[in-house]
Amino acid sequence: MDFSLIVVVVIATALAFDFTNGFHDTANAMATSIATGALPPRVAVGISAVLNLAGAFISIEVAKTISNGIVDEKLITPTVIFGGLVGAIVWNLATWLFGLPSSSSHALFGGLIGASWVASGVDAVHFPVVLAKIIVPALAAPLVACLASTLATYLAYKITRQSRDTTRAKGFRVGQIVTASLVSLAHGTNDAQKTMGVITLTLITAGSLPTGSVPPVWVIVCAGTAIALGTYLGGWRIIRTMGKGITDIETPQGFAAEASATAVILTSSHVGFALSTTHVVSGGIVGAGLGKRLAEVRWGTAGRIVIAWVLTLPAAALVGALSGRVADMGTVGTVAVALVGVAIGAGVYLLARRSPVSAGNVNEETDAPAAQPAAA
């Protein structure tokens, strides 16, 4: 296979996105298990990484479109994909720095919207589809999960109210490990697929693969490894926000939140109404706080998370538009965007090191965003 520079750059960027996707979303599956002590932090991210990798291999359904019809697929060039991916990565890094769970899929769609808009004009973006496939699910996901989780948490405490605390904690802990694993597996099948789809379609556009090809094995291995590696390195900042920041979670709540989130994710993807795992799990955790005692949710943190959700699409679109525009100026532009992207990544990494969050301090209480200097 003969690859042009842009194709190589797109593949590398797609894998980089997959990596940020992994460490951004570890929290979805594992934050509550880590917060309740059901699993030691490193074991939790290890299990999640293995299941993400496994998920990349078991799913039969391959992502056949890059954007699900949100932008005109005929007008998508490798440069547009590149711009979109850069927008998504930059937003993922920024939200990670502040420890905010935001949807990686929304970031990717936002980036693609921005890049398509500058490349082919506003007509390339299908706004009704954006409303139906992004805005409505984004509103619905946390509400549905919150409703299910509130009821489930109430039931969990009600049913076991006469049981000893030790039996109850032990029992729900096992349940939590199982449901958290299921979320990880579902995440691997969905999100690793997305990157595989992006790489495969790029190769098809570039003529390196015949139309209608399934992802070559090396693409599956690379995408699965990238997301697993990201998952294993663990987005501790986001895990802390979700596990400790929104509400104080006990094992019955953790299990209720994970069980509800699993139910919502599996049901919605089964009826073709794909909801963001991040939105679902965040809603589930809020519900777990509501179901036990109404006052327990820290609405300040929940509010910051919602603001990040609202900003995700436009912010990623802006960065995607800029990088797509510059990358369109040829090899020099592409290289420039890639270098700036790497520089931003390095900058965020250095900023994050000022207040590191790791497996060691992930369960420390915090009511400030993770970017605030952590107590020694």
Partner: protein, 74 residues
């Protein structure tokens, strides 16, 4: 604009039923487990709580198994 309200409604209904169902089954299983321990301690028969516990956990496992099936084959 094409919003699939019936799909959304279905998601709400099934999610709430499945999520609460799973949590209730595990909760009932845990309550039975606790009663079994109590019965053991006071020297009473443990048959009923053991059977209830087994049924609840089995049903919960089946529900999770179905979820696993959905992940792998849908």
């Amino acid at each position: 604009m094409n919003i699939d309200w019936s799909a959304l409604g279905l998601v709400v209904l099934i999610s709430v039923v499945a999520g609460c169902g799973l949590v209730s089954l595990v909760g009932l299983g845990i309550a039975a487990l606790d009663q079994r321990v109590t019965a053991q301690e006071s020297g009473r028969a443990t048959t009923t709580p053991t059977v209830v516990m087994g049924l609840c956990f089995l049903a919960a496992a089946a529900l999770i198994g179905y979820g696993l099936y959905l992940v792998a084959f849908s």
